[in-house]
Symmetry: C2
Subunit: 157 residues, 2 copies
Amino acid sequence: MNDRSVTFDEIDNRLLILLQRDAGLSQRELAERVGLSQNACWRRLHRLTEAGVLRGSRAHIDAHALGLQLTVFIMIRTRHHDDAWARRFRARIEALPQITEFHRIGGEWDYMAKAVIPGMAGYDALYKQLIADMDLERVTGVFSMETIFEGRPLSPA
Amino acid sequence: MNDRSVTFDEIDNRLLILLQRDAGLSQRELAERVGLSQNACWRRLHRLTEAGVLRGSRAHIDAHALGLQLTVFIMIRTRHHDDAWARRFRARIEALPQITEFHRIGGEWDYMAKAVIPGMAGYDALYKQLIADMDLERVTGVFSMETIFEGRPLSPA
DNA sequence: GTTGAAACACCCTCAAT
DNA sequence: ATTGAGGGTGTTTCAAC
């Protein structure tokens, strides 16, 4: 079990997975696929939204079709550990739209950023913008040779 | 410039960003925000869909609300480099729903998986399922202490 | 590019069971 | 939980400009 206040049954689960795969499904279709009336289905979606589980939908875009063909994970070790520096660093990262994801991590690195870029020239440009005046100890790019899958739906614990 | 056959102007760009943030926007709202008639806006969305750029929408879900509070990146180095082993390994990974993203990477590791799990016990369980009978050379978990952001919208190169 | 209109699907609510 | 019905909203396609 877990420490959540709300619980979800198998039907909630299936609804969440269906919607994570395709948020464009109509309530009629959704209801049909989970074996509920459209009305009952609506009530569940409403409940899941109220519970803060469903948080809207986002368009899914083909990065390749936009000319973004390279995914790289950038590992960063910093020399500074004060709040002021950290704020400045985060602002820097946030100003770089190529970076789609940003974590503070444990282990031998301090931060990891995921970036999606047109190619190696894009990485070089990003790298330069990233490091300028930040006095980083070490930065290394881990390049995705092949994205086998991404964005798979989450299931309740 | 780049090597794409289709090009996108500023308005396409803004439409794509708006929809990546909120696919639930009505065409009336979209049109208003980019300064187009609803009709012209519809034609652009149609064109972007035909071009394979817009690929539907996906529900956005709050992982914490589902009890999934830990994100970990799993770095894997393998001892095998033949196709049969690789296929078996991919099938193993695909069978683990906690893994949301999977890359073959360059550098000192061979694969990287992103997993979203309830907590450390979930990692241990995942780790055991992952390694069983796969004869991996080395596996290490890089834990996200803080997800500063993720899922930021892509922009054309 | 624009407006306006029509046909249709969908969402949401309510009433009745 | 279910069906059925109604009003309002959104989508898609036209015709005309």
